[in-house]
Amino acid sequence: MTTTATTGKTRQRKGDLIFSGATRIAGLTILLALAGVAIFLTLEGLPALEAGPEKLQGADSIVAYIGPLLFGTLLASAIALLIATPLAVGVALVISHYAPRRVSKSLGYAIDLLAAVPSVVYGLWGIGFLGPQLVPVYEWLEQNVGWLPFFAGPASSTGKTILTAGIVLAIMALPIITAISREIFAQTPTLHQEAALALGATRWEMVRLAVFPYARSGIVSAVMLGLGRALGETMAVAMVLSASGIVTFNLISSDNPSTIAANIALMFPEATGLGVNALIATGLVLFVVTFAVNFTARAIVARTEKGNR
């Protein structure tokens, strides 16, 4: 009896050991991959500090080179999030709280399908359809609200502007923000929703009283994931944007800042020597930025969750 019990125990222990070892290795692999990427980017990026203007598309130093690219990346992402966040939260609310069940289900599938469209297709759509369609809009903006620096013009005649790129990015970030927000909204405790309704809240008031406070941290992380997608998106931006590497808040002209990811994709095939290192250095900056975004998101989520308790 005792022997069986002991062998049983040892056998179980062995399984535990294998399993915990396997999970530990899996966890370590992720850390190693991450560290490997960081080390590679740093080692290969460092020589670019010495790169001269001829390797940096005319920029004096690596900082002057990366600056406009980083600016373009952040600007395009900011536009994308400004458009995508309210839209995604609205769509998520319709799906979780407003539409009849059958409609909301098919709407949910349609949104999920958006995520499955390859980014090169979005690029084609942006370049071939959205851009030209937006040209009259840009002209109108230039004429009527041209006093705003964003719409100073001259309006691009092709529609290949940073605003177009931002809109395409917004549509690409939409599914992930919607999907996560929808899940969180649907998880709002019925008890809290009924508390609001029983006080005589209309549906919108109920959403404000019970759903949004509950979902706040979830929306933040959803937006941050969307931001991650927008920051790193390469193909669509490379295709849609006519970039000239300047720093401007003018959203509708044909002179636009480029983004880091698009710039790497466009320049890498022709880069040699220190030029490659320079591109890798921009990659390192993008890596750091996305890392920072994720950390900020976690910090915000952790703080609001603490506040909830």
């Binding site: 009924e194 508390a195 009283l209």
Partner: protein, 259 residues
């Protein structure tokens, strides 16, 4: 402020399923009416039909009449949101809004009714409601702390304070003590005693001693049989129900010989 409720021939449905059938009763003003009966007999469903919370569930509907102070609750021109503003409700589990302070929780209903509330008026409502719910002394020094940080019994009294802050005509309570310990339960029962001078109170309870302790009238609900809808078996003065009920099945339920 307090109003009586007249219910006649009320049928309550979930989709095609008839859950409660043919209820007619008069709930007197400024008194406590208890609804008792076995699980699934429709007493909570009936309670929720009194402030039109039943129809929040998809497919749920009601036919028949509920009249409060001459106003037909289910008349087509009546807005359910307005109904709920006049009929407060306390739920089975305490449900203060978790992100709001104690202060804001009490004011939640008033903020819905009147968008602009002067600081002075707001303070007054909060103190009056918390005093009304016997909670003021316990929380007056930490009104800005989250409501979710209170004990279960305190949270339930906070929910009662939130419900009475808008001065409703009727207060519905759906097993308000079922998640509470005996001490908190007795605090809530004392509170119900105090509140009935101002409000018409309808309380669902599984605890028959509680019904006997707090109510003037008791309504006994039961299922007509397995799979059949719930119905009102008997409504009488609480004293009579618990000593000498008219119906044998009431007697059987009260004395624990159920069936």
């Amino acid at each position: 402020m307090a109003k009586s409720i007249d219910v006649s021939d009320l049928n309550i449905y979930y989709g095609d399923f008839l859950a409660v059938e043919g209820v007619s009763m008069t709930i007197p003003a400024r008194s406590v009416t208890a609804l008792i009966g076995p699980s699934g007999c429709g007493k909570s469903t009936f309670l929720r039909s009194l402030n039109r919370m039943h129809e929040v569930i998809p497919g749920a509907r009601v036919d028949g009449k509920v009249v409060i102070d001459g106003q037909e609750l289910y008349a087509p021109e009546v807005d359910p949101v307005e109904v709920r503003r006049q009929i407060g409700m306390v739920f089975q589990r305490p449900n203060p809004f978790p992100t709001m302070s104690i202060y804001e929780n009490v004011l939640a209903g008033s903020r819905l009714n009147a968008k602009k509330l002067k600081k002075h008026a707001a303070d007054e409502i909060v103190e009056k409601s918390l005093r009304g719910a016997n909670l003021w002394e316990e929380v007056k020094d930490r009104l800005d702390k989250p409501g979710a940080g209170l004990s279960g019994g305190q949270q339930q009294r906070l929910c009662i304070a939130r419900a009475i802050a808008v001065e409703p005509q009727v207060l519905l309570m759906d097993e308000p003590c079922s998640a509470l310990d005996p001490i908190s339960t007795s605090a809530i029962e004392d509170l119900i005693h105090d509140l009935k001078s101002d409000y018409t109170i309808v309380i669902v309870t599984h605890n028959m001693q509680q019904a006997a302790r707090v109510s003037e009238d008791t309504a006994f609900f039961n299922l007509a049989g397995a799979g059949k809808p719930g119905r009102l078996v008997e409504m009488n003065a609480t004293r009579k129900i618990f000593s000498n009920p008219d119906e044998p099945s009431t007697e059987a339920y009260i004395s624990g010989r159920f069936g």
